[in-house]
């Protein structure tokens, strides 16, 4: 993700619910759905693949719901970009990746906010060899993407 500025193109969960599902995809339609990590998961019932990106906002790295939400979104067959925004720890990047996230937007108190691509995000040094090889975890990925 090169560009953080997806604000103009976003839709909130309540608007998503009201969206006319029958209307054909059009250019003006919002492409980014923003969902709080503690919101209900009814949004999963919508036509997720119309969306370019789903953004899950986390206010507390210790509230692990965003991992399950990511998994559920991927299990629903969503193939677009999946982003987590807010309070997550670098130590969680590997798990985020395995739960189907593509990138994380880290908002520090300082002006240190940054986007982290999770493509090669391994919280464990050299873990590409181990967690990725752990057949169980591999399958988790296989199923989710």
């Amino acid at each position: 993700m090169d560009n953080l500025n997806f604000s103009e193109n976003t839709i909130a969960v309540n608007e998503w619910h009201q969206l006319d599902r029958e209307v054909e995809d059009d250019e003006n339609q919002a492409r980014v759905l923003v969902v709080a990590a503690d919101s209900a998961l009814e949004f999963l019932e919508g036509p997720l693949n119309r969306l370019e990106r789903i953004v899950i906002t986390s206010t507390d790295f210790n509230d692990g719901r965003f991992f399950s939400i990511g998994r559920q979104i991927r299990l629903r067959g969503y193939s677009g970009q999946l982003t987590v925004v807010g309070n997550v720890l670098p130590d969680q990047y590997t798990a985020l990746r395995f739960c189907g996230f593509d990138d994380a937007l880290i908002l520090d108190n300082s002006a240190n906010s940054r986007v982290v691509s999770l493509d090669k995000a391994f919280a464990l040094p050299g873990v590409e060899d181990s967690v990725a090889q752990n057949p169980e975890h591999q399958t988790v990925i296989g199923n989710s993407q």
């Binding site: 509230d63 991992f67 969680q92 919280a123 050299g126 181990s130 752990n134 975890h137 199923n143």
Partner: protein, 548 residues
């Protein structure tokens, strides 16, 4: 026992590397207390009263002699020369330095051990019947399934930050020795009417502030669906468990709040959307796990007969009766080593004793040792012709006390001596009760009575499910104790009933003694156990004795 694959070893080694870096970041201020807390907890590291405490996982309670020596070395090098075995079959070291923990984890990794997920809001050590694989009545050995779940749960990407801790226990026997019904998930291997083996799944059990017996969520789960079904339960819990109040965050509260049937419905919905067969058959394969279980069957060392004096014979016979059990293998017995001698804190073992027991395991039990949920050790298989020699060796080391299952075999939390959550001390109460019944003839005449002591309502000493339960409470800065009667930890798991108001520190041990003596006077015969007498004469009779 299970031997690590290259991947298992690599994962544990890398986890050490990672924790070393996390510790460095914390000590240098890069990580705040709040950020470091879940990371250290996930590696078994608590901040206790005196020093950091490290809880080391003993997956399903199985240890090799090499591992026990590894633990001895840690106790000696980094701690004060002893370790403490817990009710979840783990071991704790109480006097460590934070800076040394990465080195300790490295030593553990060198003997295929770790402290991963022994604490924190994640899936904890998988526990199991300590007679798994040797009990003649067992449907199937649950240990490979425990190992499969251990591998699945270890650093599971989705379930590291759950609302609260999550405990899973297995049994393959109809006699439940692992208190499975007091776990978040209890799994029992059963045979259905078609003769197929699968799991009976129980969910939402637990002790703590709100003791609840687990409910049956699935009467028969095919073995191949195990991981998928666990994943479904965990996901429903992760998404819906309360996070606003840690005392209401366990799955037992969620199941009660939404009701068992709706909860089951949600789990089934998630479960149906998972390709369960793919998940199990194409990835972690139970047959691969099974193939990594290797044990040396112990051959008899001593084929001659041993002469015992008349006195020795009496003591030996008692030990044989109380501390050994038949197994499914002809001529082989399981031997308990009781860690409930009144001169030690229940569950404690010194480094020297660990090495000594490792040596005995090498000689007599195929180098294997098990830990039990009752905080004792077990040599799983010993040939009958070696029992006298083994007893003599244990006797010389003061490890032959014959009190398994008796009132001296107290389960007890570390209490205020170590724990920063405790209201009261528990170890001295345990020791005083043990001493009250120090007369061996009387102790054995009493039969089996389970006394369980917790120093606070978090219930680490399982007081709710003791035949006699003792809970330490704080009243205006003084230690008081609540008594419950009639709890049980087996397949008929039951929460004990409160006897009455708490009693003070000076009265608690006498109160327990009165309860036991009242049972002794009222039982119909030696064959009527404590719970049966209690059922027959009722709790009020015991109230009079204590509060009379």
């Amino acid at each position: 026992m299970y031997n690590y694959s290259i991947n298992d070893q690599q994962l544990v080694d890398q986890r050490v590397f990672q924790f070393r870096d996390q510790t460095r970041r914390f000590l240098s201020g890069e990580l705040s207390d709040e950020q470091f807390r879940p990371l250290r907890l996930m590696n078994g590291l608590y901040i206790q009263r005196h020093a950091p405490m490290l809880r080391v996982a003993i997956p399903y309670g199985e240890l090799s002699s090499r591992q026990l020596r590894g633990l001895a070395s840690i106790a000696e090098t980094y701690d004060r020369g002893f370790g403490h075995f817990t009710t979840r079959q783990n071991i704790q070291f109480n006097w460590l330095q934070l800076e040394q923990v990465p080195d300790i984890l490295e030593e553990l990794a060198s003997v295929q051990m770790h402290a991963i997920q022994t604490s924190g809001s994640c899936i904890r050590n998988i526990t199991c019947d300590h007679l798994a694989g040797i009990d003649a009545t067992e449907v199937e050995d649950p240990r490979p399934w425990c190992e499969l779940v251990r591998q699945w749960a270890t650093m599971h990407p989705e379930f590291q930050y759950l609302p609260r801790k999550f405990k899973i226990a297995f049994t393959g026997s109809s006699t439940d020795r692992a208190a499975t019904m007091a776990h978040d998930i209890g799994l029992k291997l059963i045979k259905n009417s078609a003769g197929e083996i699968g799991f009976e799944v129980h969910v939402g059990g637990g002790l703590g502030r709100t003791p609840i017996v687990a409910s049956k969520i699935k009467a028969f789960l095919p073995k191949s669906d195990l991981l998928a079904y666990l994943e479904a339960i965990l996901r429903v819990y992760n998404l819906n468990g309360r996070r606003d109040n840690k005392y209401k965050a366990r799955i037992k509260i969620l199941v009660k709040a939404i009701g068992l049937d709706p909860f089951r419905g949600q789990v089934e919905l998630v479960f149906q959307n998972l390709d369960s067969k793919t998940l199990l058959n194409q990835s972690t394969d139970i047959s691969t796990v099974k193939s990594r279980f290797r044990s040396v069957f112990p051959f008899p060392v001593n084929l001659g007969s041993d002469k015992l004096s008349a006195d020795e014979q009496k003591t030996y016979s008692r030990w044989l009766k109380k501390n050994t059990m038949g197994t499914k293998f002809n001529n082989y017995k399981s031997v308990y080593i009781s860690l409930k001698n009144p001169d030690r804190a229940p569950g404690d073992l010194t480094a020297g004793e660990m090495r000594f027991i490792a040596q005995l395991a090498d000689k007599y039990s195929g180098s294997l040792i098990r830990t039990t949920h009752t905080q004792n050790l077990l040599l799983p298989l010993v040939h009958e012709s070696d029992l006298v020699q083994l007893w003599q060796a244990l006797n010389e080391a003061n490890l032959s006390i014959a009190n398994i299952g008796t009132v001296q075999d107290v389960i007890c939390c570390p209490g205020l001596d170590f724990c920063s959550l405790a209201n009261t001390r528990s170890i001295p109460i345990a020791q005083e009760i043990q001493n009250r019944f120090g007369d061996t003839d009387e102790l054995h005449a009493l039969g089996d009575i389970q006394v369980k002591i917790s120093g606070c309502m978090n219930a680490c000493g399982h007081h709710h499910i003791g035949h006699i339960g003792i809970l330490g409470v704080d009243k205006r800065g003084e230690e008081w104790f609540q008594i419950t009667l009639g709890g049980r930890a087996d397949q008929s798991l039951k929460i004990g009933e409160r006897l009455g108001p708490a009693v003070d520190r000076n009265s608690i041990v006498s109160a327990v003694e009165s309860i036991i003596r009242h049972y002794l006077h009222n039982r119909l015969d030696e064959g009527e156990d404590f719970l049966t007498t209690l059922d027959r004469i009722g709790i009020d009779a015991f109230k009079e004795v204590v509060y009379g």
